[in-house]
Symmetry: C2
Subunit: 209 residues, 2 copies
């Protein structure tokens, strides 16, 4: 084996490691370029589109009205074609869905940290973005246009959901957004209206990684 052979094996190894690290850190979906921090609306939509999970908080029935955060997967649409509206696939075997069926008030908190684009910044550093979408968590009734949108949004980004057990009675939910809290730089939260957020058109996909 000559120099060429050694180089080939080394670079193959490097390629495999890079692929593995991209998978683990959850950056697979990062295909739209990160907006400038000044563009708060674009940044919020980018976060909602590139992230696949967050914490959904509801008012707890079991804990007598205390706030209860729960790890959930979500999707705001097809990859790179998000609407900004988060859809969920939840079962009432879990407290979050049970809580929402009694009191719809909810918030979804999303961090930029797991997308891998915060570098070595602390997750609480204001320049590593934090988005909280607050509003009403609504059950989506079967065989509606909304159920179709939810299914395609969720099952493309979370393919294993399609195989989750039928007897667990998973249902689609969506968050009707009423308030947006975004910190993506120093100087406090960005003022963003729900209308600005929902009407924003995302930029085009850039080269992956």
């Amino acid at each position: 084996m000559g120099f060429k052979g050694v180089f080939f094996i080394c670079f193959l190894f490097i390629f495999v490691i890079l692929q593995a690290s991209i998978g683990v850190s959850g950056r697979r979906l990062r295909s739209i370029s990160k907006p400038d921090p000044d563009d708060g609306v674009g940044y919020a939509r980018w976060l909602a589109s590139q992230n696949t999970w967050g914490v959904l908080s509801t008012i707890s029935l079991e804990l007598k009205g205390a706030p209860f955060g729960n790890i959930v997967s979500f999707s705001d649409g097809l990859p790179d074609k998000g609407s900004g509206i988060p859809y969920f696939y939840l079962t009432a075997l879990d407290p979050t869905a049970r809580n929402a069926l009694m009191d719809e008030r909810a918030s979804l908190a999303i961090s930029e940290f797991p997308t891998g684009s915060c570098g070595k910044k602390d997750p609480e550093n204001p320049s590593c973005a934090k988005l909280t979408l607050s509003g009403k968590l609504k059950l989506i009734k079967g065989n509606t246009k909304d159920a179709e949108i939810a299914a395609s949004a969720l099952f493309t980004k979370h393919p294993e959901m399609k195989g989750w057990p039928q007897n667990h009675n998973f249902n689609f939910y969506k968050l009707d957004i009423e308030d947006i809290f975004l910190i993506n730089w120093f100087g406090g939260p960005k003022p963003i209206t729900v209308d600005q957020y929902l009407r924003h058109r995302m930029n085009q996909p850039a080269l992956v990684m």
Copy 2:
């Protein structure tokens, strides 16, 4: 440059990439071996010890009692010597601390996903663990034993906090845990008492990665 030189350069490169990927995916702290899923108490303490950030939910003043989740960094103690009690460094410029000062009820949700040990599982898959610690979020008064514990817990895992601006009036807070919700396998939440959780002694550190 001979074969040895080529190998040396390649492996140096591979080493640098591995270090970078470990940093980005937040696995730096994973030095205690992951407990068996049957050991719910050990698993919950392992999650609290190995994770560095989560979502802290409070009852929102601005949103008239709605639940409000916010991305925060936390620490339960020195690396590999956690107590299970999460400490925070928060400013009342931020709604979470303001909310807690009016209504202490809070929960901290932590996911196993960002530690990198869920493999290709979906973040909502029950075998990718989710921990929610609920209780009262308490402001820690200055120059107390608790303030000392909070400072050493937070500043070792989040060194940049030491340099955060003094005029933002950051204060230490802790969560007095009253309820534990853990899903780390199929079959619903694990029944764990606060006493079991706090009294648990973690196993010894294993080899890093």
